[in-house]
Amino acid sequence: MSTRTPPAGWVSSQGHYAGAVSRFLAFVIDVLVSSGLAALGLAATALVVQVVTGHSVSWDRTNIVVAIIFVAWEFFYFGYSWAASGRTFGMAVLGVRVVRADGHGLDPWRGVVRALVFPLSFLFFGLGFLGILVQREHRALHDLIAGTAVIYAWDARAARIRFLARDAEAGPGGR
């Protein structure tokens, strides 16, 4: 299997502010993963309740209890991930990380604050996210409130070498 070597412009981007596409794709992955886990958890809970009590439980999306559980779970998913490691699963896949605005490692409490104010960016049709596009440091509203920024944290140089190595192994015909 050969891959055409991408241009080397991205190689030096490690540590730079992450852009909109990377962050959006990471968010999409996180929403899918967290929702899937939430659905699995609810299904498992329903199964346990049915086995123990004999009553069948059906989770209705309009049920306020389900909504509260889902919101709490999402807050836990994002808040714990940012507080513990500065990245969620989706961010790890896309190779981005949350850091303090000055570039140092994220304090756990900032991760929690970021998760708490994260919904504010969705207000007014997601106006808070506009900062990722137009702000010079690509910081959204919740970043500005929590004093955080998102950077590329994957080893692009190592990836570049892997690309070159695959090309070299494939030979001139594979390019």
């Binding site: 991205w10 540590g15 990377s22 190779g95 990836a159 070498i161 190595a165 070299a168």
Partner: protein, 205 residues
């Protein structure tokens, strides 16, 4: 007694005192002459160049045991008296080096013994490894050597390749969108590419 022997004995009795007397007179005369002579004046009259011109110095030197002579010389004391700096100032080093056959010199050198005397640790301590690595053309290294195949085989499979591709494509799109947004809003001055702490790290590396 034989008359011939008797005659010889009588002659001897007569000549011995005469000979002793002549010896004493000669010694006395030489003393008087030497005392009367001014040796320095005499030496000044001697044409030493003419005398030395008649001497075959090479023949004399051939008879000299130079090793025995040098054995008696305290070379260290002699060298201590030599001002090496002044001596070296008078040496034209470039001309000297032009006359040196370096290949022949190196052929005589025991390189292994020389390397054993080298303190490799101290040598490496003086090398700026980061600067050295920055000078390496990794692209050429990976593409032109078997290193590429080794890395390709050891650096994961399809998942790793897909992840690298997805990330690099995403960064490319990020940069593309950032350029267009910058033009659309007529951003005059680009912001810092990274947070201050990471920019400092970039500058140091």
């Amino acid at each position: 007694m034989d008359p011939r022997e008797r005659l010889l004995s009588a002659g001897k009795r007569l000549t011995d005192p005469a000979e002793a007397l002549a010896q004493r007179i000669a010694e006395r005369a030489v003393d008087l002459i030497v005392q009367a002579l001014d040796i320095n004046q005499l030496v000044q009259r001697v044409d030493l160049d003419a005398v030395l011109g008649q001497v075959d110095i090479n023949t004399i030197l051939r008879r000299v045991d130079v090793n025995a002579l040098l054995a008696q010389v305290d070379v260290n004391a002699l060298l201590a008296k030599v001002d090496v700096t002044v001596l070296l100032d008078r040496v034209e080093v470039n001309a000297l080096l032009d006359r040196v056959n370096v290949d022949a010199l190196l052929g005589r050198a025991d390189v292994d013994a020389l390397l054993q005397r080298v303190d490799v640790g101290a040598l490496i301590d003086r090398v700026d490894v980061n600067d050295l690595i920055r000078r390496v053309d990794l692209d050429s290294l990976v593409q032109d050597t078997d290193l590429g195949a080794v890395i390709a085989k050891s650096s994961g499979g399809v998942a790793s390749e897909a992840l690298d591709a997805a990330r690099s494509q995403a960064v490319g799109l990020d940069q593309f969108i950032d350029r267009w947004v910058g033009r659309a809003i007529r951003r005059r001055q680009a912001g810092p590419p990274a947070p201050a702490a990471l920019l400092d790290g970039e500058a140091e590396s």
